[in-house]
């Protein structure tokens, strides 16, 4: 599971002005009652648009996230790690299929989403634009990036759109081994030789800033998302999610004797919130807009895979099969 830190489009205050007020009220009442919205139910255009965007981004993050981890399959330390990493990466790609089909129920075909990923029109989780130099980088992703994604996804699974919630439930259930596997890998590095410990410490130093970016811009600078919270599209603010992650995982990292590269990181016991050096949001924007170390490579790998697979799709194509929007 890799999804996280969705970037929401700015919302104009009149975005629901042209919606039918009676239908809109019934829609909001249903969400307030805690009922799920199903594909055949009426929904405001803004709800549809933001959900497609969010679920699609999540799907792309699974596909692209498989690349920095997948690169270590051939060089995994030992047969068991290799088998486990292969299974994990395969899971993530499977999760993308589940997410794409949830987004498809809202009316955007899967092939359109894949094209939009390749042309850069759709985004994916920013963290995968960084390289995995060593095995320890790969372990950081398996343990902590997955952990961050789980924080986000457990929240989203309580959201209002039925097909997305069902996909997330399945994904969360399939995840049970990823987090345990990732933690296991890091415990082995931590309790290994000095060289192994150094290797993970260096990975932690490299990945901490993107990990802090992972949950998206700070609430004070991020786009107004009140309506998305009311519609249960977004289930918590970026800062809430970040705080929850720090609460759960900073003690576990410290327990292993590693140093988190932020001298200001401390939990304020009075407020229950973590305090930290403000992440560099300029860097975050620069990387989202294509300026990261691996943006180009990630998209090129996807594009070339698509080009190379074209003849297979052409060979299989049949006029009897027809694309239609999934039912649920």
């Amino acid at each position: 599971m890799y999804g996280g830190g969705n970037t929401f489009e700015g919302i104009k205050s009149d975005s629901v002005a042209q919606e039918d007020p009676i239908l809109l009220a019934a829609f909001e009442a249903r969400i307030a009652r805690g009922e799920k919205i199903e594909p055949s139910d009426w929904m405001p255009q803004l709800y549809r648009k933001q959900l497609i965007r969010m679920i699609e981004q999540h799907g792309h993050s699974e596909i692209i996230g498989a690349l920095p981890e997948g690169t270590w399959i051939t060089r995994a330390p030992g047969f068991k790690r290799k088998m486990a990493l292969m299974a994990k990466v395969q899971d993530e790609v499977g999760h993308a299929q589940l997410l794409y089909s949830a987004a498809e129920t809202l009316g955007k075909p899967r092939e359109q989403m894949i094209d939009d990923l390749i042309t850069g029109k759709s985004k994916y989780s920013n963290i995968f634009n960084y390289p995995t130099f060593t095995w320890a980088d790969c372990c950081f992703i398996s343990w902590l990036v997955d952990a961050g994604a789980i924080v986000n996804q457990l929240a989203n699974a309580r959201g209002s759109y039925g097909p997305y919630c069902r996909a997330l439930e399945r994904i969360c259930a399939e995840e049970s081994f990823h987090l345990k596997y990732g933690h296991h890998c890091v415990i082995y590095l931590a309790s290994g030789t000095q060289k192994q410990r150094d290797m993970f410490q260096e990975a932690l130093n490299r990945w901490w800033p993107p990990m802090m970016h992972f949950f998206g811009p700070a609430d004070k600078i991020s786009t107004h998302t009140e309506i998305l919270m009311r519609w249960k599209v977004k289930m918590g603010t970026n800062d809430d999610m970040r705080n929850q992650f720090l609460d759960m995982y900073v003690p576990k990292i410290w327990e292993l004797g590693f140093t988190i590269p932020d001298a200001n990181l401390i939990k304020n016991e009075a407020t229950g919130r973590w305090e930290y050096t403000e992440p560099d949001w300029e860097e975050f924007k620069r990387v989202i807009n294509g300026g990261g170390p691996c943006n180009k490579e990630r998209l090129e790998v996807r594009r070339i895979a698509e080009e190379r697979g074209k003849w297979v799709r052409d060979a299989l194509k049949s006029s009897k099969a027809k694309y239609v929007t999934p039912l649920a």
Partner: protein, 203 residues
Amino acid sequence: MNSLDPRVARLPLIGEEGKIVPKAPLDQFGTYEVFVQAKEGKPFQHEGIVHAPSLELAYVLAKETFTRRFTCVSLYVVDTRDVSVTLITEGNQSVYELMDDVKDGVGKKIFEVYHLVKRGKQHMHAGSVEAASVGGAITKAKNQFGAGKVVYNVWIIERNAIRFTNEDDQELWLTLPEKKFRDAAEYKGGEKLSRFLDSMNKS
């Protein structure tokens, strides 16, 4: 391409960076609905969809997508176009109450009936009926399975359109329990962790 990953570095350079020819509508596989039976004796449940060029390949992909981690005893797929769907209702309104009885024609086909009994959940198999048409099947389903309960949505599928699991297919998923490396319970780092923490405390 210049990459840390040797496999990426040796990829053939084809096409143009950032450019993709938009796919014509036909360049998309068909959509197939997937139904899974988790345990012997339990009803089939709608699980999701796959895209495939044919019913047979849809079956293969469905098995890969939906039974990779979860065990199940059986699974089947059907072209989405072969699923007839009623309206969706809410509150205490059963969709059957909105459906007028249809006088069925002659000829007999078997239809599988799926109910949505709780909004937000997935469609469950309610049973099979024999009828000449979809309308006739709904009327029969209403009388046989619809009495006294709220059904929000009904799906009707003609049995002939379904790609069922046969015996040979079933042998394929007997390998699941042996794959310990992807079982969360196999990753017990606790003991190693406590030994490590003890040694840290001593030093």
